[in-house]
Symmetry: C2
Subunit: 152 residues, 2 copies
């Protein structure tokens, strides 16, 4: 990721793209724990202690199921979907706010007919995400609503 | 401002309000250097190194003309207006991004017929804003486009 300062005004373009911001689709391989998701880094600056990123999943796509020490502050911008937060599943719509506390399993899923796009504020300095072990995944799936969410 | 952790999901309400988020209109007094502006703090958490705030000006309202060492990362969310950035005036619309570098004079103004609402990401630890001196204001007004902007 570049630490070049961004231009002072970057205009919004059709299809939730921004002038001067690279769109980075996540590369799907055999065991990729995500589907049809791309990232645009909107603010990453030496003088700002957080970054602001925009993530978008195509209809039916989902983010990685993960947890970490660092928090996320999320605002939905586009579409409809659900998020898993610990052992709760919640429907989300534009401009809803989601706080993801430290060490909380989380995943976002777009609805079948619509993309899901959201802003995510995160500390510039942060730890790497953890993926669930088999045992942790089994524990998550012991909650029927969570099992249904994870099954798509 | 409270450092209570926010609920994990806070839904978006009509008129750009959020569940559980206090709307704080700035109190206008005789010499108030702003007009018709209110703030909602969307994320302020011990574990996040930035805050995310939503500012909204009613039609014809404006923010304080100020500068400071800390940066702002801004995304317009609602309405139309203009921003002053140093000696440039730019029109803004929803989802445009504005980067306000250190020590840059800046002010936002809503258009006459519409409110202007924007997200502002800022470091939790930051210096206090400075207001322009008479001489600095005169220097800003020496640029005709800036003078027109400041006159409303």
């Amino acid at each position: 990721m570049s630490d070049e300062p961004s231009a002072q005004l970057r205009t919004f373009l059709p299809e939730f793209r921004w002038e001067g911001v690279e769109n980075r689709p996540y590369k799907e391989e055999g065991s990729a724990p995500f589907r049809a998701i791309a990232r645009q880094v909107l603010f990453t600056e030496e003088g700002l202690d957080c970054e602001l990123r925009y993530f978008e999943m195509a209809a039916g796509g989902y983010s990685t199921l993960e947890r970490h020490e660092h928090m996320h502050g999320v605002m939905i911008l586009r579409g409809r979907g659900h998020c898993l937060l610990g052992d709760e599943v919640r429907a989300v719509k534009p401009f809803d706010l989601v706080t993801i506390p430290a060490w909380t399993w989380h995943q976002f899923r777009a609805s079948e007919g619509e993309p899901l796009g959201f802003l995510c504020m995160v500390n510039r300095e942060r730890d790497r995400p953890q993926l669930p072990s088999e045992a942790e995944l089994a524990a998550l799936k012991s909650v029927p609503e969570v099992a249904a969410f994870l099954a798509g």
